[in-house]
């Protein structure tokens, strides 16, 4: 791991001091439109989401379940471009909330890894979460993130060996992303039994904060996950607020309500 300081580290330090977890809320850029996604993300911040994870829509999202697939399809059908994503990041970062970016690898490789890192840093983004990039293939990104002072979050899974947990965490800066279940994104009625085990295995090999995602959809689930993780990452449940709504205003209202419920949850960790 590089000794550079993390862009998102201060937010984790503060949450830790407050005895709570951070709430990370995900939304694809350009869903339902570029402006609509900026409005949604700002509403999330206003309602208590600590960190926004902006997803770059991709044509072949193999880690994602039906909700994020649909939202990505809508964004792409609306013509969203990678450079629009940077505009969304800039607009949301202006609220003062840290903005991380989740992306499949090909859009970044196609943009140019160093060029994207440069433009992401200029837009005020903190770094990347890369669901289909493992450290072994990340040489160019390791160099570019060092050069532009960006965080990098790789994923770990219940199936990761101890050796891979250590290796992967050693390549992260900012936080590590623990996928709580073996499966794709999507809210589930039960959060996983495997997640706390995975997090405690991670604690053996790293001091970095750990975010847990995949499956959280209610305040109670957020409180459960906050009991053992440093960040609770929520995607599909928030996105569904907009997908299921009959109009924009009711979608934003539902999004605010769920954000507030989740924000409450991460402040009452089940310990």
């Amino acid at each position: 791991m590089s000794e550079r300081t993390s862009r998102i580290g201060a937010a984790f330090d503060k949450a830790r001091a407050d005895g709570r977890a951070l709430l990370v809320g995900c939304m694809p850029a350009g869903f339902p439109t570029v402006e609509g996604s900026i409005a949604a993300m700002k509403a999330m911040v206003a309602a208590g989401v600590d960190v926004i994870e902006v997803e770059i829509p991709y044509s072949d999202p193999v880690m994602d379940g039906p909700v994020i697939q649909r939202a990505s399809d809508i964004a792409l059908a609306g013509g969203v471009r990678t450079r629009d994503t940077l505009r969304v990041i800039e607009a949301v970062a202006a609220t003062g909330a840290p903005v991380v970016t989740m992306t499949y690898w090909n859009p970044i490789e196609h943009y140019g890894v160093d060029a994207f890192a440069r433009d992401l840093a200029a837009a005020g983004g903190t770094g990347l979460v890369t669901p289909d990039l493992i450290p072994e293939e990340a040489g160019e990104w390791l160099a570019a993130s060092d050069a532009h002072g960006l965080d990098r979050t790789f994923l770990v899974a219940p199936s990761s060996t101890d050796q891979r947990l250590a290796m992967t965490a050693a390549h992260c800066r900012g936080f590590v992303y623990a996928t709580a279940i073996m499966g794709v994104t999507g809210a589930r009625s039960q959060t996983s039994q495997a997640a706390p085990v995975l997090v405690s295995r991670l604690r053996e090999v790293t001091d970095l904060p750990v975010g847990v995602g995949l499956g959280v959809g209610t305040g109670a689930q957020a409180a459960t996950v906050a009991g053992y993780a440093d960040a609770v990452i929520v995607g599909s449940a928030l996105i569904r607020c907009l997908l299921d709504a009959s109009d924009e205003a009711s979608g934003l209202a539902a999004l605010r309500a769920l954000s507030a419920e989740l924000a409450e949850g991460v402040r009452q960790p089940d310990r």
Binding site: G65, Q69, R81, H110, L155, A157, S160
Partner: protein, 412 residues
């Protein structure tokens, strides 16, 4: 036949330990799949080194699939081509294509890993039918993902898979075709990886799939090389194949990569023509990128979003290609050229009429490419060239498409 004639020289072994062919290949996958890919890579290595496994695989290919397939001298087609054309008759294999070799190998590997369930993606349904066949033979649960557009176009193959006991899941996301079926198979695999093997249908995807599939189909070239030596007393001047994901082409190329005098040609689907943008030629019409777990040539837009491919041949209708082909192209060892729908269908008709063989439309691309290169090769060599063509499959599945194309179906 001398003993050494049956063995070809294998060049420096690729991929490397991490699955790279030069800058291509590798693993661009969710971490959740890495353990399963490692398990598979270990099982693959161990199996290839295990004589019992190799014997069992060879026995199945012989007794069940009907290999070695013939190398047939197509005299009347040759006269039209201006070349001595030898057809590697993979169309005569059980299930009608080279694909049976790959599925039998992977089914054996599935059993060896102690898994009870296989999943597969399919476009036209050929790989799905082959997988369902092997699953029936090995008593494995089988789920096949197929784009909804394809389940509608290929209703007969859907019925075949069901007859063989497989569950066919129509995929309704994205473009609802092969690439989306592949996404859905990956999603299933992430969720069920403990008991499930993803029986991928071509030499693409994350490491070790490209190497593993190649190893299971490379018997095509080993056989063809020995058969050509026996039949003609020498090696061919060229070996040709169609390239979708690339399995039949790698299967026949591999035995010849150490023979520098043998030219290797891969023919991609040029669809309605390269100028129209409606094609499936990833190498000749795409650019480097990452798709379905591997770095290779991809059809993509300016933002790295995958573009839809187009081809009259469902089996070639894929916007990527196996990474070893990207490497063979990069190093110049093999050359790749597009063949349009129209050129392929003309060659399809020519083979029907000259030889009484109805080829798969995929394989017709190899025939058309062969017709295109033969005169140039003859001029270069100053004599009639000998060309081995991989006739990767039979055309039964394509009768409807071809009948419509030629306008020979009776109106209702």
């Amino acid at each position: 036949m001398s003993a050494d004639a049956t063995k070809s020289e294998v060049p420096a072994q690729l991929p490397d330990a991490a699955g790279h062919f030069g800058t291509f290949g590798g693993r661009f996958v969710p971490e959740a799949l890495v353990a399963a890919l490692d398990e598979l890579a270990t099982a693959h290595q161990a199996a290839m080194a295990d004589e019992t496994f190799r014997d069992e695989f060879a026995g199945l290919l012989r007794q069940y699939a009907g290999t070695p397939s013939l190398l047939y001298e197509a005299r009347r087609f040759s006269a039209q081509a201006g070349a001595r054309v030898l057809l590697k008759r993979e169309d005569l294999n059980h299930t009608g294509a080279h694909k049976v070799r790959n599925v039998l190998g992977q089914a054996l590997l599935t059993r060896r890993m102690g898994k009870r369930r296989v999943i597969a993606e399919t476009g036209a349904g050929q790989h799905g039918v082959a997988t369902a066949t092997a699953a029936a033979l090995f008593d494995l649960e089988c789920v096949v993902y197929m784009g909804q557009v394809d389940t509608e176009r290929q209703a007969l193959n859907v019925a075949r898979m069901r007859m063989l006991g497989a569950t066919v899941v129509p995929v309704t996301t994205g473009s609802r075709t092969l690439k989306d079926a592949m996404n859905e198979a990956m999603r299933d695999w992430v969720a069920n990886v403990d008991e499930t093997h993803y029986l991928i249908g071509t030499a693409a995807g994350p490491h070790p799939f490209p190497a593993l599939v190649r190893d299971f189909v490379r018997g095509i070239g080993d056989e063809a090389r020995a058969q050509c030596l026996e039949l003609t007393g020498g090696l061919p001047d060229a070996v040709t194949a169609c390239v979708g994901g690339g399995s039949n082409a790698l299967g026949i190329f591999h035995a010849f990569t150490g023979d520098p005098q043998v030219r290797l040609y891969g023919f991609e689907a040029g669809g309605e023509g390269m100028g129209t943008g409606r094609h499936a030629a990833s190498i000749t019409g795409g650019s480097t990128g990452v798709l379905h777990g591997t770095r290779t040539f991809v059809l993509q837009d300016d933002d790295g979003q995958t573009r839809e491919s187009h081809s009259i041949s469902a089996g070639l209708d894929y916007p990527g290609v196996g990474p070893e082909h990207a490497w063979l192209h990069d190093t110049g060892r093999a050359s790749y050229q597009p063949v349009t729908d129209a050129e392929a269908m003309a060659a399809f008709e020519l083979l029907c009429r000259t030889e009484g063989i109805i080829p798969a439309i995929e394989s017709a691309h190899a025939l058309a490419g062969t017709l295109a290169i033969a005169p140039k090769l003859a001029a270069e060599l100053g004599r009639q060239p000998t060309i081995v063509v991989n006739l990767s499959g039979r055309g039964d599945k394509d009768v409807h498409t071809a009948g419509e194309y030629f306008g020979i179906l009776d109106k209702e």
